[in-house]
Symmetry: C2
Subunit: 491 residues, 2 copies
Amino acid sequence: MSKKITPRDQNYSEWYLDIVKEAELAEHSAVKGCMVIKPYGYAIWEKMRDDLDRRFKETGHQNAYFPLFIPKSLFEAEEKNAEGFAKECAVVTHYRLKNDPNNKGKLIADPDSKLEEELIVRPTSEAVIWNTYKGWIQSYRDLPLLINQWANVVRWEMRTRLFLRTAEFLWQEGHTAHATKEEAIAETEQMLEVYADFAESILAIPVIKGIKTENERFAGAEETYCIEAMMQDGKALQAGTSHFLGQNFAKAFDVKFSNKENKLDYVWGTSWGVSTRLMGALVMSHSDDSGLVIPPRLAPIQVVIVPIYKGADSVSTLDEACLTLKKQLEAKGIIVKFDNRDTQTPGFKFAEWEMKGVPVRLALGLRDLENKTIEVARRDTKEKQSVASEGIAEYVNNLLAEIQENLYQKALERRTKMTYEVNSYDELKAVLEKGGFALAHWDGTGETEEKIKTETKATIRCIPLGNKQEEGKCIYSGKPSKERVVFAIAY
Amino acid sequence: MSKKITPRDQNYSEWYLDIVKEAELAEHSAVKGCMVIKPYGYAIWEKMRDDLDRRFKETGHQNAYFPLFIPKSLFEAEEKNAEGFAKECAVVTHYRLKNDPNNKGKLIADPDSKLEEELIVRPTSEAVIWNTYKGWIQSYRDLPLLINQWANVVRWEMRTRLFLRTAEFLWQEGHTAHATKEEAIAETEQMLEVYADFAESILAIPVIKGIKTENERFAGAEETYCIEAMMQDGKALQAGTSHFLGQNFAKAFDVKFSNKENKLDYVWGTSWGVSTRLMGALVMSHSDDSGLVIPPRLAPIQVVIVPIYKGADSVSTLDEACLTLKKQLEAKGIIVKFDNRDTQTPGFKFAEWEMKGVPVRLALGLRDLENKTIEVARRDTKEKQSVASEGIAEYVNNLLAEIQENLYQKALERRTKMTYEVNSYDELKAVLEKGGFALAHWDGTGETEEKIKTETKATIRCIPLGNKQEEGKCIYSGKPSKERVVFAIAY
């Protein structure tokens, strides 16, 4: 089965798409740029969603649901936001089809159903949500308003890649409103922490927390915080963003509140989101040439049990032993799949679960039963060993924790190894050539940033939080700089 | 607070909307026909979703996600389905906005971004899903394919009502594929059972299981099964449908499989769904003139604890007692809210939680502490009594079960009382006049059904499963009939 995967060093991009396909995560649909998320891929997304949702609720947020469509006039209200997204908006212009008079059996948009005002399919929901908040917020008592939404959004893309860049994607978008600037900034930072902890402890992906330059900022934000991850090829992937919106949307939608002194003021806002892009980050962080590798804490199946049947007589004996084993593991809270299909060989099953990245595989044959052992294979290192049945649940539980930690450490080591301080433009180019993050001095201007981007395709991924301050010279302009920023080519 | 609710007997429709508004379930959005589901409403929907999702998974289904958009040509492929939904489709025609050259600051759909083929915003996903299944199904080994999707859909509505009829709504849609007709029918019936049990045991809404007449069938189905509920005004609400699709979609999308004899055959299909309409059913089944009433098994908050502070000194004593109480209840798995706001009076809180339908309210003052009692108020009957603190968790747990049962029994009694056997057209009209279900003989023709609908607005809600067979005459045409069907005016 693993033959179907193009090796990473041969064609990284093909390798990625092969894994998405062969692990049955997603596929292209009949609609240009839109994907079908297949059951196994969706099960992983559900695990991400549930874990994040719990974290949002623990930090006081509630879920709600806002409309898919945004009337054009609302969309226009916050000018920068509108400008930022205008070029990728799907536009609904009609609300009815009718039979095509010239083409039997075919339908056309009924000209009589043309909308007076076009509707934009949400690329993000600030406009429709802030327009709603106007009705919800009158006084400081209504604040903070801490809301999240799980939804689909559409941003028209010409060049798409499954999970990484699709016209429609699934995401969550938090939208909060606060009485003070300080509180809104604290919220922005809190949610960045939530994302970072989720990425590191669940996805096992180390991330750099930082702020975006003005050029890379979310359209309509005062400040964009982000977490940036490094993929195996040294490219960057923005894994989550948290925006301090200042009073921009409050002003655009006239959302005022009376404070404790009974004075009217505009509300302060934040928004923050992560999306099914994280599925792409997952694939490109841990997988190998044999397929997907999923960190145990994220895996929809943490352990698969494969019986090694030997003749019809062995079936009931082995099934019984496997079911006992399954129960022991489940008692520890482990998610187990017992693969007792009689239509497939053990070899086929091994290859399939390896492809699908199940962290631990247990195999059990008649000889194992005699010897009171179980064959344990871990997906991350591909090590196999025979382990005593007694205490197996404890053993597997520890092993899962070890795999989780190992994946994180491996990714961290890779990032450390592939992160370079560069002190000239040539050094920067050399790093980009071989792949990696380049820490470089920059003069702080959007002009320089833009030129570097045009010439090298690299962007400033972020200015790390708590960045070391040091004197230096911009690698491009030679102008003075006080800190290094992270340059990389990004997905 | 309850003053804001229009009494049912004064204006039932206003009563409904008042509750949706005052219990903070949903509101109209800036987009015609689309609603905002507010946090409390969404929390109830999440409970519905999670319970159903568990049932779907227990019956072997997996979740997946399919595109929001359907290319027009795909949409046209299953002719009846296309015809059935064509008149309510939102149509995307452009994928970009640009600055309006004649109107500074305004945007227009960029004429250069006109799509070659229009995209339909899914009103239901059979077309895009069966087109995908073509690639997933080759052999009997790929069957059954048991997939569900949680998604938003759009059906353009001119006359909308929150939850009951909105242009965009949330739902789940199951789409399964099978090797045999029998298996597909069994699946259709199984999912109807899942819906019925969910409605009765969680929502506390008794339902009639039945099949739709041809006129009322889902566009593209061979048979539509449904569950029908009676609202307090005697009108019917279709609470869920399960469709046996025959081979219609398989033929339209050329989905064939090789069976065990290696012969090619078309696949058999089903689809089934429930939506945020259930929120409307919930409101109209149990609520009263003081607000929403939620069955305990569905309530996002099952018990609210309100401390009766008396002076600043009492706060820490009462808070401590309330938190102990909260822990006792939570140990039984009860979902508890401790309302310790110091900005609101107990009276305000009582009214608010009554409006929001929390099943049980516990109040605790200093005198209660002395007497070792707690004031227990149940939302369904509004009875209040003083109960000993000792064993309170057990008491409340039993009370929640009792309320759940009581709500179901009340709804069932109402339905029984408001269901009439009618033996003439005049009797039918009299029942429709006062509200209720009419069990009447019908000649089995769509023509008669249509005439009755035009003249009375009543439709045949269903032909109940396991219906008693009896000789009779159609109340409209006088032609012979073998069973009674359920007539009602429906939401």
